[in-house]
Symmetry: C2
């Protein structure tokens, strides 16, 4: 019976993959690559690892907020994983770190309930990599660091509180976020890092930040 | 003129170092290893990389809250770094990620002011690695993740707020933290991960958590 590995491949720069991730991916004959049309996590790993002998299963995760649609999809993918685990180790790839807003955990919970072992491999988060690209520190001595998914219940309170703030999962709401940051007098100290570590990386600062940024954008609001 | 690299070596498990960190450390003839008596960051990297031809400079960081003592020490180490940079690339090693509560930034600021280039290499944070060892997720859909250095001004408010909380830099205050978590009814859902990724790693959960945990302990309070 195989083991189900959740493998973080880092933030986008293929060199930011860990030795552990490389070892686990290399030994797993079956790879789950989360994707829409193509898989960024897979293409990052393919820069480093030879996938020619592997079975790659592309797993589609709909961008829905409907709990039923999401949960049916998790079950569908977990069934595929369990089918493969009957014979082989399976690695599911994940951009950034596996414990930060990853879909892996939902699949892993179901797979674990069905009696399979699950192992998680940590990785470099998009916000740590983004801070390095900006040349800044995320946390200063006694100040907290707050990771905020856009639209969470207490977003404004968290943005106002002391410490560095990271805003993730902004999607098409960049314009709204810019308005909120401007209103809270935080825009001046904000960074937007689009496609961190990839060839088309872009760093914008303060009032330069525009509302036409892509899905892979991390916002950092300096304390 | 050399470049000053801040290199994250990951959370303690030598396999959680990135390919980029390995490449940078390998090419730098001079290494700054932060330490008290011995350097954990150095010993982690020594598991993977041959240091026999390198000049290793052990840099002492006093555990003081006195701004004068700290700033004199940063200047002292920055002077040593600048001296070496006149001829060579220099890499300063850092456990976890370089942008999360690292002393590197203080040194880097001075070195940069003196006209040298600084490059940061991101790494796996102790809290991401700890979550993987606990087999848990740090963030769930629309909930924030809050990284709290023990004793920060609004610690209790942050502990009470929605989302997963990480408490770092607890030092000798584990007993106090346990009392606070018990009072806020959060102890039951807490994990303490001591020496994550090292041979003497220990994971304690809920009421098992005791006050005799070492310096390298991360606390996770599940949402």
């Amino acid at each position: 019976m195989g083991i189900f590995y959740g493998v973080s491949v880092g933030s986008g720069d293929p060199e930011l993959i860990t030795l552990k991730a490389v070892r686990i991916i290399e030994k797993c004959p079956v790879i789950i690559a989360p994707c829409t049309k193509n898989s960024l996590a897979l293409s990052v790993a393919q820069n480093i690892i030879d996938f020619s002998d592997k079975k790659i299963i592309f797993a589609d995760f709909p961008m829905s907020k409907d709990e039923n649609i999401l949960s049916m999809n998790y079950s569908r993918i977990a069934d595929i994983v369990c089918g493969e685990l009957a014979e082989n180790d399976v690695a599911m790839l994940n951009l950034g770190d596996i414990s930060i807003y990853s879909t892996f955990s939902y699949i892993a919970d179901i797979v674990q309930e069905k009696g399979f072992d699950v192992i998680r491999c940590a990785g470099v988060t998009s916000f740590c990599a983004s801070a390095c690209e900006c040349g800044i520190n995320l946390s200063d001595r006694d100040k907290p660091l707050i990771i905020i998914p856009f639209g969470c219940d207490n977003m404004t309170d968290l943005l106002k509180s002391c410490g560095t703030k990271i805003i993730m999962k902004c999607g098409k709401n960049t314009g709204k976020l810019i308005d909120i940051l401007r209103e809270l007098n935080l825009l001046e100290n904000a960074y937007a890092v689009e496609n961190c570590g990839l060839e088309n990386q872009k760093i914008l600062k303060g009032y330069e930040i525009t509302d036409n940024l892509g899905y892979f954008t991390v916002f950092i609001v300096d304390a």
